[in-house]
């Protein structure tokens, strides 16, 4: 199955129209950042209430053998007996100082406990993005340009990669590569070998998406006159592809990957739990199940900041790739 895409994409049109709109403003970056920061605060507020309404950490801590009195004692100990509103006011004050409090569970500062596992997730996201680019772009080229058989093959693989959920793929990988073949560790984090399977489980979808993006961009680009111009100059198909068609496909692909990162973080939650990969996703899930509010809030905060930073970097990257977005037009 190939992506037989024709016509002009709305995103391309929007991207083309955007520069005139946002170029000279002092800060598309600043505006974006401000908006995202405000939203982050809003989201943390939402989370504050959501999480607190969602259940009682004291209950989780107490366990079924506890008595009612013990439960009450733990609640008092955690400061959960105060009215929600005064808890929220205190929370807002703490937020300004980036103080998320201490983990209900371990007593460690929540932000530290989240930041400690951030690098592991960063590495996972980076390897996944790199994989999706390094594998996805050639696959996309094959999808758009290869012969019938290769195209069908790649297309089938991509269809499958897009349809197999990461947790299904992850379970399969563990059974084949860890249990049966014994090539890779089934769980854990910290060593390069532990990255392989989580990366594959997470990247399969991203690879397929990138490949389809690239293929769509390339096929769409086929109608572009500048490619015809390049042929008319005497350039070979290969040169036209690598020097003209692909670079022009990249801004759209890059923006898509930026969006992808936020999906990746969602996917990472599942994959990290499955592979006991000690990253932010696993920490978040643990904290949610333990109703460890401070850690939940810190994790959401860190993930939010991460997404903001990725978006800003992505915007900057697209600007670098595409001169139309940075330099004024006549």
């Amino acid at each position: 199955m190939s992506t037989d895409v024709t016509g002009v994409s709305p995103t391309a049109a929007a991207a083309g129209g955007a520069p005139a709109r946002r170029r000279p403003r002092l800060g598309p970056v600043a505006t974006t950042a401000l908006r995202l920061v405000l939203t982050l605060l809003g989201l943390l507020t939402l989370l504050f209430f959501l999480v607190r309404l969602s259940g009682d950490p004291a209950a989780v801590l107490a366990g079924p053998s506890a008595t009612s009195e013990q439960l009450e004692e733990i609640r008092t100990g955690l400061g959960l007996d105060e009215p929600l509103l005064s808890q929220y006011v205190a929370f807002l004050g703490d937020m300004l100082r980036l103080d998320f409090g201490e983990s209900v569970f371990t007593g460690e500062p929540a932000l530290d406990s989240v930041l400690a596992v951030l690098p592991a997730t960063l590495i996972l996201v980076v390897t996944t993005v790199v994989t999706s680019v390094v594998v996805g772009i050639p696959c996309g080229v094959l999808l758009a340009r290869a012969g019938r058989v290769a195209r069908r093959g790649v297309s089938f693989a991509m269809t499958l990669a897009q349809a197999v959920p990461s947790f299904v793929l992850g379970v399969g990988l563990i059974f084949v590569f860890a249990v049966n073949l014994g090539w890779l560790p089934a769980f854990g984090s910290g060593t390069p070998a532990t990255l392989v399977m989580p990366t594959i489980a997470l990247a399969a979808f991203a690879v397929a998406r990138t490949a389809r993006m690239v293929a769509a961009e390339l096929e769409q680009g086929e109608d572009h006159d500048y490619l015809r111009t390049a042929y008319a100059k005497g350039a070979s198909s290969r040169r036209v592809l690598w020097r003209h068609a692909l670079p022009n496909a990249l801004p759209a692909v890059a923006s898509a990957i930026v969006v992808e990162v936020s999906y990746l973080l969602s996917g990472a939650v599942v994959v990290e739990v499955l592979f006991a990969y000690n990253g932010i996703g696993k920490r978040l899930v643990d904290a949610i199940f333990a109703r460890d509010y401070p850690v939940v809030q810190a994790a959401v905060f860190v993930i939010g900041v991460f997404v903001i930073v990725v978006n800003l970097i992505g915007d900057a990257l697209v600007r670098v790739i595409d001169p139309r977005t940075t330099r004024g037009s006549a």
């Binding site: 109608d223 006159d225 111009t229 008319a232 100059k233 001169p323 139309r324 006549a330």
Partner: protein, 326 residues
């Protein structure tokens, strides 16, 4: 005089091979060294396809099914890729209609011109900087060294088209093919670009094939003209002869329906009907349904009339003046 380009009985089709649409049927056309030929026709007449298919630039699904295209002694129909690459940009320079779309938005225009040079002369792109500046000067780009560093979107339409022309001239081709080179431009800029084209072709003794729907453009720069209708050439000859005394009723109608820049309200002479689209060409003479002088015979394919040293594809070429057409 020798022909730089010689197209013989060219047939082109497109679409699903099992149910193809014929776009060009038996076009023969030659461009002599040093001459400028205008290929005129309305949309769907096959004028662009004829040229682009000849150069192998018509895109996917467009196939030459019959005929020959010889360029400076090289047969292009069925030629291998290296030959085509040598020809494109080397022997033939091409200018497209939309100067913005024709330039890679991500590359500086100087680099794009340099690439054209590099592809045929080798070396590094930077080595061709002087050549780039020279080319830009040639097409009348002011401050060429600075403009070479600009991106396409930073230039005006006229400047872009000059850059595109410079690119076409990069390797001093013996033939320039220009597809509607001024259509996308403003009137005042059209005139400027027209001058550039004229200088680069007629004045430099370079052969050119200019595809256009604009008879004014032909009148300005071409020596010879070929008029296409429904995938066929219906009339060809010297610009002077054809404009002065068109023989095919279509050519007559076309010339007559041009509005003149004259004071005063008046009725225009109009051709009836509308140009047919590929795939729905009438049998016989394709122009017959619109032709004011059509007769029974016109339902069969008309022969080529070559009397008086003229060339037209009509059962009864009109030798009287065009006043009779309304």
């Amino acid at each position: 005089m020798t022909d730089v380009l010689s197209i013989e009985d060219l047939w082109v089709e497109a679409g699903d091979p099992r149910d193809p649409v014929t776009l060009v049927r038996g076009v023969s056309l030659s461009v002599e060294a040093g001459s400028v030929v205008g290929l005129v026709g309305e949309s769907g007449s096959g004028k662009t396809v004829t040229c682009m298919a000849s150069l192998g630039l018509a895109g996917r699904g467009v196939r030459i099914t019959r005929g020959s295209v010889r360029l400076g002694g090289t047969e292009l129909v069925g030629a291998d890729e290296p030959t085509m690459r040598r020809v494109r940009g080397g022997v033939v320079g091409t200018v497209f209609q939309d100067p913005l779309g024709a330039l890679n938005p991500l590359q500086r225009v100087g680099d794009q011109i340099a690439e054209a040079v590099q592809l045929h002369r080798g070396g590094r792109r930077r080595a061709h900087r002087d050549r780039v500046v020279h080319l830009l000067t040639q097409v009348g780009v002011p401050d060429p060294a600075r403009r070479a560093r600009a991106y396409p979107h930073e230039l005006s339409g006229g400047m872009r088209q000059r850059v595109a022309i410079a690119m076409a001239l990069a390797n001093d081709p013996s033939l320039v093919v220009a597809d509607e080179p001024t259509t996308a431009l403003d009137v005042t800029v059209q005139a400027q670009v027209l001058d550039v084209i004229r200088r680069a072709t007629k004045d430099d003794g370079r052969a050119a094939l200019i595809i256009t729907h604009d008879l004014g453009l032909v009148a300005e720069v071409a020596d010879r003209v070929a008029v296409m209708y429904a995938g066929q050439i219906v009339e060809k000859g010297s610009v002077a002869e054809v404009f002065a005394a068109p023989r095919h009723p279509y050519t007559q109608g076309l010339l007559a329906s041009r509005p003149a820049l004259e004071p005063g309200r008046r009725r225009l002479s109009a051709m009836g009907g509308r140009p047919p689209l590929p795939g729905s060409w009438p049998v016989g003479c394709a122009f017959a349904p619109r032709c004011p002088v059509a007769v029974e015979a016109c339902t069969t394919p008309p022969p080529v009339d070559q009397s008086d040293g003229r060339w037209s594809r009509c059962w009864h070429p009109q030798v009287e003046s065009m006043e009779g057409v309304s």
